[in-house]
């Protein structure tokens, strides 16, 4: 991507992605999180390796290290650090990471789709909404029922997370772009379901905590 460019400082062609390989000055950073961190484009990421890389690159790129450098390098350091921080924040969270890879691969992951109730959940969601309405109307007898469905949905989330985990492995194992896309497609559907359920859980949490308050 942005790794093929001439050094702004000394003009060396194909200078390198972070520092010029000739004059060692800081270069314009690439916005691609994987390229930037020098990590293979995999969905399964080892958090320990990611953290190690984050700390090591922070030491090299943080603006604190560039207070006595040229204005251009100061700007690049600010830019590079903000990309590094964003990349770390996104890639350490499996959901945000998957969404990032999907978006980069051209998938649309809008909020709209997650408003449609997944068909297999129709009945349960219907009952949950009834209970929430009753709670809002002041009926506290539905509390145990709400607690239970909250628990059920939490279990569902945990199951979804392990399914995602498997998909991640499968995705990383595919060699060609087409098969990877096929897995990404599946992941997108799982994510929609997941977002739907997690929205439900936070709605229940909100109602429960506003009662306690």
């Amino acid at each position: 991507m942005a790794s093929h460019h001439d050094c702004w400082q000394c003009g060396t062609p194909d200078a390198g992605s972070l520092f010029c390989r000739y004059c060692n000055s800081l270069q314009a950073p690439t916005p691609d999180y994987y390229v930037f961190l020098g990590l293979p484009r995999r969905l399964a990421v080892d958090p320990a390796i990611l953290q190690k890389q984050f700390y090591a690159m922070s030491r090299m790129l943080h603006p604190d290290r560039y207070t006595r450098r040229s204005e251009q390098e100061k700007r690049y350091s600010l830019e590079a650090s903000s990309i590094l921080n964003d990349a770390y924040r996104v890639l350490r969270d499996p959901i945000a990471r998957a969404e990032y890879v999907l978006r980069e691969a051209g998938f649309e992951i809008g909020e709209q789709r997650s408003k449609d109730v997944p068909p297999e959940l129709l009945e349960e969601v219907f009952e949950l909404n009834m209970a929430l309405d009753e709670l809002r109307a002041g009926d506290s007898e539905v509390l145990p029922q709400l607690q239970e469905s909250r628990h059920n949905f939490k279990l569902m989330l945990a199951r979804i997370d392990s399914v995602l985990e498997e998909h991640f492995q499968r995705h990383d194992g595919q060699q060609d772009v087409a098969s990877r896309r096929a897995v990404l497609e599946q992941i997108r559907n799982v994510l929609h379901r997941r977002r739907y359920i997690s929205n439900l859980v936070s709605e229940v949490d909100k109602q429960l905590s506003s009662r306690n308050a």
Binding site: Y55, S58, R59, H62, D64, T67, S82, N85, R89
Partner: protein, 532 residues
Amino acid sequence: MGRGLDDVREEARLLPFQIAECSEQVIHLQLGERRLTPPEISAQVLRELKARAEAYLGEEVTQAVITVPAYYNDAQRQATKDAGRICGLEVLRLVNKPTAAALAYGLDKRKQGVVAVYDFGGGTFDISILRLHEGIFEVLATNGDTHLGGDDIDNLLLAIALEDIRTDWSQDLSSSGEAVQTIRRAVIDAKERLSFLPSTTIEFSWQGRAYQRQITRELFEQLIGGIVGRTLGPCRKALRDAGLEPEQIDEVVLVGGSTRIPLVRSSVEALFRAKPHTELNPDEVVALGAAVQAGILSGQVEDHLLLDVTPLSLGIETMGGVVSKLIHRNSTIPASATEVFTTSVDGQQNVLIHVLQGERELVKDCRSLARFDLKGIEPMPAGMPRIEVRFMIDANGILNVTARDTRGGKEQSVEVKPSYGLTDEQVEAMILESYDKAEEDFKARQVREARVEADTILAAVDKARSSAAWHDLDDSERAAVDLALNQLQMVYHGDDHNLIRGRIEQLDNATRKLAESMMNSAVRTALKGTKI
């Protein structure tokens, strides 16, 4: 600082100064004839600190690292930076106080693990949770209250004393600035004594009448329970944002004078289930950390690095007065977000972006930071222009906005109107004014110093005129001394320090023989009675 008129209306009634009328955008305080903004007053404090540092170091100080409460918003940070600029300091970095404390704390111990810094000072409360790992100080979460501190405790005690006086003396002293100041001093002393005594007396006298009231630590703790309790909510929120349970905190560090209060210590201990560290002086540890950060910035400290976060979410106003969040709270800074804007009317050339800070959903519940006006957009049908706006929170926690027309590729001009705070032009004007003032101040000081010197020699000559040595001088010598004396007295009250110094020198010359003769007679007196 960095606050609007509505924020301080309540508080202003307790303050001994007036808010001037022209305070819509920036608060102005009316101090006699002068009107000053909080950054200008802060600049005066900084100027004094700068002078002291220069006196100690023996060289000019031009750059500084300044610490701020971690929960400070953008406007408060900007105001702090403005204050630095006004007094002629280049502010290299704003460091959050708890982070600075962690830096000082972790530095010599080479600590690893998760540390909570509880910073309860005079006016603000901060809690920060950090991971220390091989010299990296990574803030995981921060929370706080920029309006909670020891001052609130003082105000409680103050209110009690004023109420006593109202009933016992039938006097209302609450509107007398001087009386309130006297009582405030007394209650602060009592508060401080209660940190190591089980009971003490609040005492002072006002216009000959003595006030005394016994207060036990038990009663004191009942009084302040609510205030101390208010610090615990932010602590729990910070833990939640860091994704940690209290048991996962390895160490707790206390910062700020109010953490000397036993109830504060025991509350912190109960919450984090760990005995807090108190071995560092809570008043100095933050300054120590700032010094370390200055070392990092100047390249003298190489293996340490602070990774701090932004305390508040940043968003923009969208349809229906709703805030769309762009950068979430506790994001490591520098942090950035890009948003594409377009026009809604054919030929529209300006787009106004309203930036807000806060955690709530609606514009009215968040803090307005600034309005950015994208200007000079090429006239096109509605929805056609694509202006890419980049929001960047720098390492100081301050927002910078840049915009680019993605169709034309050219930089788009952005005009910033801070919601609360000084514009760049206003700061520039204050810098100029402070230069003028600095010259004035310097001159006044030199005149004062010259007069002090003149006082010394005038007193000495006065004394010499009644000594035996005076009579040893001949008439012309005495006349010369009198003339020089007169000439110094004539310029003494003028404001030309060079002239005063010149006349001092003349008098010094004219009295040389007199001084020698006095010296000799002193020696003779001293030798009298001594056998040689």
